[in-house]
């Protein structure tokens, strides 16, 4: 039971990271109807930028960890958001009205570009960092097994919750959010009613990338490493989360992320670590077959 509780905590932390990435997928899919294959690599770029800015801040003599983390968070969100914007501008916008395969291949190409760019720019080796946030609490201890909640885990979950709250407010209460929902429903109609569709789509990518940057930074805090290849698998898993939650649904993406995080952690704990990715991918297939609209998604009506 203690072991189970510990795994649930770990799963929720991992799930928060997946959920943050999944929001980017689900928003982009909702608004332009394409799988943004490069999104996983945007997450990886976010992790790298967090790592580099952290190193720089430490070396110029900042010592207050909360301040450093706040600056790192803002820097990586800002720069990664610009990456998201650039990717949309270069690779997707020219293909907006092209046939459906073109943006998908362009996205795959962009994913190769981003991951190999960071390999060339930062080297192929894994970049480890010493634990930035240390310490934690022991929740309960019996039979020699302690259920621990580390400070890093608390930071990850709290940051996720705060950002989700801000983000939900953004989508449901602001002008931008209304524009986004309008574009999701009908781009032509939205344009006729004075919504700048191009700008709204750009902003969707920017917000998605900023959240992916947060995920990248949380990954760095929690696992203490980044490498250029981590975007691919994390991306597929986050996409699985988005599909599981119902693509286009924001609470669904978070819920799906948590589910995938829990399943992956529990699978590793009770079955085999080697096959944890196989488990995640199998869930993707099973969900798409038996529950194509996901947990919170609306069924798609097909018109002839």
């Amino acid at each position: 039971m203690d072991y189970f509780a510990q795994q649930v905590i770990n799963g929720i932390v991992l799930g928060s990271i997946y959920g943050l990435i999944a929001i980017g997928y689900t928003m982009v899919y909702g608004i332009v109807g394409m799988i943004n294959f490069a999104h996983g690599d945007i997450f990886m770029i976010g992790g790298f930028i967090a790592l580099i800015s952290f190193l720089v801040l430490v070396s110029i003599g900042l010592t207050a960890i909360p301040l450093i983390l706040l600056i790192v968070l803002l820097v990586s969100m800002a720069i990664t958001a610009l990456y998201g914007w650039t990717v949309e501008r270069i690779a997707y916008r020219p293909l907006r009205h092209s046939f459906r395969l073109a943006p998908m291949l362009s996205a795959i190409g962009m994913s190769f570009v981003l991951s190999n760019f960071s390999q060339v720019a930062q080297g192929a080796r894994v970049k480890p960092v010493p634990p930035i946030i240390t310490g934690g609490y022991t929740l309960l201890e019996q039979n020699g097994f302690a259920v621990r909640l580390s400070n890093a885990q608390i930071v990850v979950v709290v940051t996720t919750i705060v950002l989700l709250a801000i983000f939900t407010w953004l989508v449901s209460r602001t002008r931008l959010g209304r524009d986004m929902r309008a574009c999701e429903q009908d781009q032509t109609m939205a344009a006729l009613l004075g919504v700048d569709v191009d700008r709204t789509i750009s902003m969707t990518f920017v917000i998605g990338a900023a959240l992916a940057a947060v995920a990248g930074m949380m990954y760095l805090l929690y696992y203490g490493l980044v490498d250029f290849f981590m975007g691919f698998v994390a991306g597929i898993k986050a996409f699985t989360a988005a599909v599981l939650g119902g693509i286009g649904s924001l609470p669904g993406a978070m819920l799906g992320g948590l589910a995938i995080g829990l399943i992956e952690t529990l699978w590793s704990a009770y079955f085999s670590v080697e096959y944890k990715d196989v488990a995640a991918f199998s869930i993707l297939i099973i969900v798409l077959i038996f529950l194509p609209t996901g947990l919170l998604g609306r069924p798609e009506v097909e018109k002839v």
Binding site: F112, A124, D277
Partner: protein
């Protein structure tokens, strides 16, 4: 958001040095922010495991300068070329007929050239090896073309069948001592079986969902190969895979080898030439089967499925069998290619079957114009040839490949061969633009 404003004016054909300069400046500014940390600072794990970093502001400055210059060049080119889609280039009729004749001659010319390659380049081992590689991808492209180009089912996990074929041959030949010619059909059958196995669950899926499921399937196969060490040797792969024989006669220097039997001096090039003709034959088999199948009801059903699945059902076409046969046929040729790959390399490991391979083959098919046999062959030649050009720049290769994919999609989203003759026509055959061909919702 400031940079999106000049873009809108450029569509109304704004010219002038000030505009170009402003746009380039914005691009350079964006590049500066993008690259500031990623290029300006280099991190590496130091000797003690502690991360160290050093600055590379020179590289950063040159990158920003390149973006600035490149942006000016691109903008000048765009203005010189005219805004996309506004000018219709009319080709005069005589040129058109010449082009049509030339177009008809390309395929036979390529075929004759392919047949002559081992004769012309007999002493250039490198070119022969490259030719074998290109033909392998031509075959893979033609195989995937059945699934993507004809049936309109977007498959991002084609490499799974390639690996099934390769591992089938490797395991059957090393464990049971079966010859290549026995294993080849077995590898094809096994791959086709896996194709059906994948096909069943994804029957109801469409478009992007289908793509992501096939991708996941490809990754699952690769992960299983890595982790099932007792059978597949895990990441170490399988080595010592038997070389192919000339229908039972080994291509070795021994007394019962082919060279000794023919009474000619032995040369290791014989095996390369044999492999070249073998993959050429396999590729042509794929092409021939595809062309024949297109004329059969099943091929017609595939193309109908690509155009409109609902209409297909309304006409009483069994979409289940249509999709499954497409998957199985495509997978079978992938399996053949895999078996060939295993026998050529003599060593296989999961590293050869990553998602990048799937993406490369899919890029070949889409670049070839989705459904055009000649286009796929030309695209394979261009892609693999281009890949070879960058062999010296080992670490930049995938970067260039990714960039090429993005740029090619922007430049020609419909592929190199944008027109093709319809399979069935009423009264008069007329080449149709591939803009009119749907990509399918499969």
């Amino acid at each position: 958001m400031t940079a999106s404003a000049p873009e809108r004016t450029s569509t109304s054909r704004a010219t002038g040095a000030a505009f170009i300069f402003k746009k380039a400046l914005i691009s350079a500014l964006v590049a500066l922010v993008l690259f500031s940390l990623m290029i300006g600072i280099r991190t590496e794990a130091g000797p003690t495991g502690q991360l160290i970093y050093w600055t590379r502001f020179g590289d950063l400055a040159s990158m920003v300068a390149i973006v600035f210059g490149g942006s000016i060049v691109v903008e000048l080119l765009r203005q010189w070329w005219g805004a996309a889609g506004t000018t219709i280039r009319v080709i005069p009729p005589p040129v058109q007929t010449t082009l049509a004749v030339a177009g008809r001659l390309v395929a036979p010319a390529l075929l004759i050239f392919a047949l002559l390659v081992p004769v012309i380049f007999y002493h250039q081992r490198y070119i022969l090896d490259l030719g074998i590689l290109v033909l392998t991808y031509v075959m893979l492209g033609w195989g995937l073309n059945i699934v993507v180009g004809l049936a309109g089912l977007l498959d991002l996990g084609y490499v799974a069948f390639y690996s099934v074929g390769a591992y089938s041959y490797a395991l059957l030949s090393t464990n049971f001592d079966l010859s290549f010619w026995v294993c080849l059909p077995l590898a094809g059958i096994l791959a086709a079986f896996w194709g059906v196995l994948l096909g069943f669950p994804v029957l109801r899926l469409r478009g992007d969902y289908l793509a992501i499921v096939t991708l996941a399937f490809g990754e699952i196969i690769r992960l299983v190969i890595i982790n099932w060490q007792s059978l597949t040797g895990g990441p170490n792969g399988i080595s010592g895979i038997p070389r192919p024989t000339f229908f039972g006669i080994p291509l070795t220097a021994s007394d019962n080898g082919l060279a000794a039997k023919l009474g000619i001096p032995f040369s290791p090039t014989h095996r390369i030439v044999f492999l070249f003709y073998l993959i050429l034959a396999l590729a042509l088999l794929t092409n021939w089967v595809t062309i024949r199948l297109r004329r059969l009801p099943i091929g017609r059903a595939w193309e109908a499925l690509r155009e409109d699945e609902v209409a297909c059902r309304a006409l009483g076409i069994n979409t289940t069998t249509t999709k499954l046969t497409a998957f199985a046929t495509g997978a079978m040729f992938g399996g053949f290619a895999g078996a060939f790959f295993a026998t050529r390399q003599g060593f296989i490991s999961p590293e050869s079957f990553t998602f990048q391979e799937s993406a490369l083959v899919l890029a070949i098919v889409v670049l070839g114009g989705m459904g055009s046999q000649l286009g796929v062959a030309l695209a394979a030649l261009a892609m693999i040839g281009g890949f070879e050009l960058f062999r010296g720049l080992e670490q930049f290769r995938m970067l260039v490949f990714g960039l090429a994919m993005v740029l090619l999609m922007i430049w020609r989203p419909r592929g190199l061969i944008g027109h093709r003759a319809p399979t069935v026509f009423l009264k008069q055959s007329q080449a149709i633009s591939s803009d009119l061909v749907k990509e399918g919702h499969g």
